[in-house]
Symmetry: C2
């Protein structure tokens, strides 16, 4: 049923150990007060990892696995289409591991994000008017240069990397009753489900998405895969209009529930994280808190984990959110 | 000469080990580009510690030392006058260690900061119109209730706690040639000097302050202690108008240099930290970066450490800085 096994996750943890520290799990009494319902909230600070997001786990897992499997292929380089976190994660991991990285982005990509990708020595290729054009260009480069594609979701090593987050979280806070996770491609949730089934079957796993980009939420509820559904959310990290072959079934079978949150509630969650934790979350990295608000009556009295990521919020967007 | 010894610092590290993780030391290529002069910049993320600041080291060091020395006194409780980080650090450490904490603040204290202090179970006493009035009230409470005063600077255990920062930093980045530190009371710099003298005498230690609150800078340069000099800076963590008995001489003898930075350059450093690292710094926690800009021509080609703290910036101030 699952596209990966718990053994894949523990193998990924072993590969990541030399490169990434455990991210802290922190408790803030003021966050408990905010959420109410006698819930104890634990924040997994994935924003304290390099490039400020769990995506660095995914990228490092994929590149270390490739190196183990075929060093020659790894030395030739990897490529992906991305506009944000996946590209930053690959660029960081490639620099760390000495693997050439190519990231294809559409023309006019957000300059702050492109600058980060290039700062780690990755080759940035601007091509095409849309993200899909960038994907097509990336395919051509991969074929021409013999590169290895690292898909952001449809890649077992990526999913295993994401699973290390929940494995680590349960070691830090064994009392966790539930986790509420923002869902983009689904790697974080599939990783959580895989770990839950092996380590703590009583853990409930909830996903959340913006009302403005609800493809995966809709597919979870009606069982119909989605492709190219419209997206309209400032939370770029979860602005996905499609389901993915490797995650869609596991999500449907393994998630406890999947809720939508408003754009306004995501913006409010960013402000609350700033005020209470003094950490900068991006939209996708604050959506878990917004989802927790929606689920709070159901989770009364529980210990609940959420994830804070923050690598993808540029200054103009933050300025707008604070106004 | 020094008010503490390196042995005091290693003892503090041993006491802190069970309570605080090492804070990460991170390198951002875009920060190197920003600073220029072929400098490699290392950021010590003290904002990733509880209450987002190195002050939690100072408080935890003082309270664990008190427990070891006199458990009965510790059980009776500790008190301090503070408006910000020192009070938050003590409140967190007291909750962690089971020691009652009283924090005296002036009436009308910033409500966000008071809320954090109370959220950790500390007793918050609002008394008097000014900070000095709160100090006087704190003195009276200490006398009446047999509490132990934990001064933010004039306390050897506090200074030893601050020293653990530099000891940790040098283990993480042995190549460091220099560190540039924002100076409020002077604990961080005295700690750095103490560790430098014992571990790496070639390390240069620079202090920086705002032009708007230059008492300690002025004392460093002319040798005259200051008391009640005017302060006019938004960087509340370094808004000190006085020198302190336990730090003033050690700073004069041990600092390599002490430079002033403008309010505008501190605000710019907060914006640069947000854009490049996606971390929220407060004014005092960004002043090190502002100081590094001022010192950069002298530090060309060096590996330089700075510290990012961020527990003390409220949302209205951040909004203002981003506009």
């Amino acid at each position: 049923m699952h596209p990966i096994s718990y053994t894949d996750v523990t193998a990924a943890r072993a590969r990541l150990k030399a490169h990434l520290p455990a991210s802290p799990a922190m408790h803030y009494p003021l966050l408990d007060q905010l959420v109410g319902h006698d819930i104890r909230v634990w924040v997994k600070h994935e924003n304290h990892l390099p490039v400020n997001t769990f995506k660095v786990r995914n990228a490092t897992s994929a590149l270390t696995a490739l190196m183990e499997r075929d060093a020659e292929l790894a030395a030739r380089g990897v490529a992906a289409a991305s506009t944000g976190n996946h590209g930053q994660g690959l660029a960081w991991a490639g620099a760390r591991l000495g693997i050439p990285v190519t990231i294809c982005v559409p023309e006019g990509n957000n300059p702050e994000k492109s600058a980060v990708i290039m700062s780690y020595g990755a080759r940035l290729v601007e091509a095409g008017a849309t993200y899909d054009d960038a994907v097509a260009h990336c395919d051509a480069l991969i074929a021409a240069e013999g590169l290895t594609r690292i898909h952001s979701t449809n890649n077992a090593d990526v999913l295993a990397g994401a699973g290390t987050l929940t494995a680590e979280f349960l070691e830090q806070v064994p009392e966790l009753d539930a986790i509420v996770l923002a869902l983009g491609g689904g790697s974080q949730c599939v990783g959580a489900i895989t770990v839950r089934d092996a380590v703590k079957p009583s853990l409930t796993v909830f996903a959340t998405q913006s009302e403005g980009a609800s493809a995966q939420h809709d597919a979870f509820h009606d069982g119909m895969p989605r492709h190219g559904q419209s997206v309209n959310t400032f939370a770029e990290g979860i602005a996905n209009g499609s389901t993915y072959d490797m995650t869609v079934n596991a999500l449907r079978a393994g998630l406890t529930d999947f809720v939508l949150v408003s754009e306004a509630s995501i913006a409010q969650a960013i402000r609350d994280f700033l005020r209470i934790t003094h950490n900068l979350a991006e939209g996708a990295g604050a959506a878990g808190l917004a989802g927790l608000h929606a689920l709070a009556p159901k989770l009364a009295g529980k210990q609940v984990g959420i994830v804070l990521c923050g690598g993808n919020l540029d200054t103009p967007t933050l300025r707008h959110i604070l106004q």
